[in-house]
Structures are given as C-alpha cells and as structure tokens.
Amino acid sequence: MAALEHLPVQEAMSLRALRASMRFGTRVASVVALVLVWQAISDSGIVTAFQLPSFTRVLARIWDDAVAGDLWVNTAVTLYRALIGFAIASVGGIALGMAMSRLKLVHWFFDPLISVGFPMPKIAFLPVIILWLGVYDTSKITMVVFDAVFPVIAATIIAIDGVERELLWSARNMGANEREILWQVVLPAASPQIMTGLQVALPLSLIVAVVTEMLMGGYGLGGAMITASRFANSPGVFAGIVEIAIVGYALVKIMSLIRHRLLIWHPEAHEPSTV
C-alpha cells in the first residue's frame, strides 16, 4: 500500500525532470539552429560581410576581447551601473510605494507625479541629466534609477492595495500592532506582485544602462559597441549584441530563480510556470 502511495509522486517527479530536460534540449537545439542559419546566410554571400559578419568571426572577436580583458571590464562596468541603479530603484520604489499606500498626504502629492511620469519616455531627459551630473557613472546610474523606479512604485501600490482584508483583520484581532502587520502580513502577502514589478524593472535597467553608455561613450558594453560602430567595425558591433544578449538572458533567468526561491512558500511556486 505504502509503495502505491509513493508511486504517483515519484512518477510526477520523473515526468517533470523529463519534461525539463526536453525543454532544455529544444532550447539548445534552437540556439544551435539560429547560429547555423546566421552562418549559412553570411557564407552564402547574399549579404556582405559588413552587413552580417560570419558567426565564427564574431566569436573570434569575442575571444580576443576576453583574452585582452576588455570583455570582463566592460561587462563589469555595465552590470555595476545597471545593478546599482536597479538596487536603488527597488529599495526607493518599494519604500515610496509603501509610504504612499499608508499615508494620505504622501499619496496625494506623489500620485499625479507618478501617473504623469510613468508613461513618459524618461530617456528624453538624458541630455538634462548630463548637463547636471556630467558624463560619468553618476549620471548613468541616475538615469537607470529614474527609469526603473516607476514600475516598482506602481507594482508596490497595487500589491499592497490587493492584500486580503481578512488577513489584516485576523492579525489585528490576534493583537498584532501596526508594525508587525506591515512586516509580517502586508509585505509577505504583497511580495509576489512586488517581485513582478522588480522583474519589469531589471531588464529596463539594463536597456537604459546600455543606451546611456552608447550616448556618452567610454567603458561598458554599450560604449564598446558604439565605438566599434564609429570605426565601421561590424564584427565588433555583432560581438556586442551577443555579449549583451547573454548578460540580459542571465539576469532575467537569475531573477526568476530568485523569485522561485523567495516565494517557495507561496501557492504560485507549485503551479507550472508559463514562460
């Protein structure tokens, strides 16, 4: 009897593992296919080597960058700007969102600013930020924060407003004070949606970090790409795309792993993930 009870669980586990490995397999296969198509197009001579340098040349270029050390410096610089900006935007955005959902006055003041500011293309303010803060790290990180903070604030407000009343009433009934309710009830209950806001903000941070580097030049993956493009060095440009794509993919994956890890107690962790 005991063995029978075990069976479905084990079967489900192995099925899940099988499915995961199959998904991994198709993913690898499609990356390989994409690379093969790229190589075939550039070898066939339909396009010039300037328009699409062959994958092997781009790979060689990435290898050279890695050996020379530029790749690591540029990646580190870009990640530093994107992640510091993201961290400031996360902490500040969650704090402001919490303040707005608890204090009427704060809500009154910031609500119109955020509803006007959220849909604005903040990148247009870049020349202004350069005028104020120069062309170094400070202005780039400021720009990242400026862009990434809005989705975090919006998600935090929606998340806290959506916390079930019953949870608050029960906690209050059992004698919890406001502070305990905030930290032990409201924040955990709101955390899935806040995480979603952070998952929107993270790729945005990387987009903005790359754009600011392109506009101001200097170190960083975006800066390296724009330098290559100014010298009409197309393998350098395509190497930049591949590098930035890998960094972006890694960040998005790490973020969804963190989400899974942090929300392991939440029912959503047991549902099959969609994307």
């Binding site: 499609s30 293309p121 794509a245």
Partner: protein
C-alpha cells in the same frame, strides 16, 4: 473640482522649479526658469523647428509600431494555434525577449543607414516581442468551453480563431501593445539622440550642443508629454474597445 485638486502637486512642482531658478538657488544655466522654457517652446513652434522635426519622428513611430503590432499579433496567435509554429518560434522568442533592445541601435544603423529605415526597423524589432508574447498568452488563456462550443456548432478552425480566440485574447493583447508603445518612445528617442539628422532626438541633441538649454528643455518636455498623451489616449481607446466585456 476634484480633478483640479488632484493635480495640485504638479503645480507645486512647477512653482518650485520657477522659484528655484528665479531666486538663484540653482544655476539658471542648469535649470532655466519654467516661464523661459515655455517662451522658447512658443518660439520653436513659431519658426517651425518643432513641427519639421515632429514629422519624421511621428512617422517612424507610427510605421514601426504598426508593423510590430501586425506581425507580433499574427506570430503570437499563430504560435498559440498551430503547434509546429510554436515549436519553431518559441525558443527564438525566448532568446530575444531578454535582449536589451537598445543593443539593436548600431546593428539597424549598419543595415539601413542613418535615415528613417533604421529607426523603423529598430522600433519594429524591439516592440514586436512584447506584442507576440501578449497575443500568445492571451490566446492560450482563452476559455476552453467557448472553443468547444464553437467547434461543436460547426465553426471552422479559422472561424473559431477569428470569432472566439481573437476576442478572448484581446485584453492581454491590448496590454502588450501598451508596453510596446512605451518601449517605442524609448527606442525612438535614444536612436535619434545617437544617430539622426532629423527628429525630436536630433533636435534635443543639437540644441544642447549649441547651449540653448531653454529650447532643449522645451523639446524634452514636448517628447515626455507626447509619450504621456499617447498612453492616455490609448487607454481611453482600450476602454471603448473592451466595453463588451462589462
């Protein structure tokens, strides 16, 4: 009255801006007074600089977005409706989804030069993925019961796609298009700031380089409020379109 009260904080910020630069708290070079910015906005409008640069920008935006919405929605619906399409395209979408779209700016410039074509391609490529994913999720999430009923009442597959799946996917699809609109403004302005001879981004860059900061502020705020206005109009439109759901 309530609406006016609601936007009082914006007036407070505007007044603080005017006061800060009039009273010399900040350099009027770094932050020209709001009234000067408005005056130079009127000048820009009068001598036509604003309008001649608005034309190309709006054209790029509209063309890129229209292509992205059309192709993205077709791909997403196709992926949800025909398994082979999904098998082929899903990994490609998954690879390009996390790519910071701004990395495509130099590549589109290599392919199509510095004119309209490269910006339209950039906006198309960058905005297509969110629309595709939204269409896919929306179509996948539509009610099975409705599908079965339509099929059992003899509707053809294409008919079901058009009459059941597309309306079912609409809310999510429209949401994805909203993301795409926001992204399209970011891509437009940043690509025009980097390489362009016309357009809002170009105008901002050249005014900044000349040191006419009041005018630069005027254009920056024009673009920002344009983005805001388009988003608001879109939301009003969406409410009209989705009225049957209520």
């Amino acid at each position: 009255m309530n609406a006016v009260l609601r936007y009082v904080p914006l007036l407070i910020v505007a007044a603080a801006w005017e006061a800060a630069s009039r009273l010399g708290l900040v350099s009027s070079l770094a932050l020209p007074p709001l009234s000067d910015v408005i005056a130079s906005w009127i000048d820009l409008l009068r001598d036509g600089d604003l309008l001649t640069n608005a034309g190309p920008s709006l054209y790029r935006l509209a063309a890129g977005l229209a292509l992205a919405i059309l192709v993205g929605a077709l791909l997403g619906l196709g992926m949800a409706w025909w398994k082979p399409v999904n098998v082929v395209l899903a990994p490609v979408v998954e690879i390009f989804y996390p790519l910071p779209k701004s990395a495509l700016i130099p590549v589109t410039a290599i392919w199509l030069g510095f004119g309209d074509g490269s910006k339209i391609l950039l906006i198309f490529l960058g905005c297509m993925i969110p629309v595709t994913i939204a269409a896919f999720n929306g179509a996948r999430g539509c009610d099975r019961m409705l599908l079965w009923s339509a099929r059992s009442m003899g509707a053809s597959r294409l008919r079901v796609l058009w009459d059941v799946v597309l309306p079912g996917a609409m809310p999510e699809l429209l949401n994805g298009i909203r993301t795409a609109i926001a992204l399209s403004f970011i891509l437009l302005v940043s690509s025009e700031l980097i390489v362009a001879q016309r357009g809002f981004g170009y105008l901002i860059g050249s005014l900044g380089a000349n040191g006419s900061y009041e005018a630069m502020y005027a254009v920056v705020f024009t673009v920002a409020f344009l983005g805001f206005a388009v988003d608001r109009l879109y939301q009003m439109l969406v409410q009209r379109v989705l009225i049957w759901r209520l």
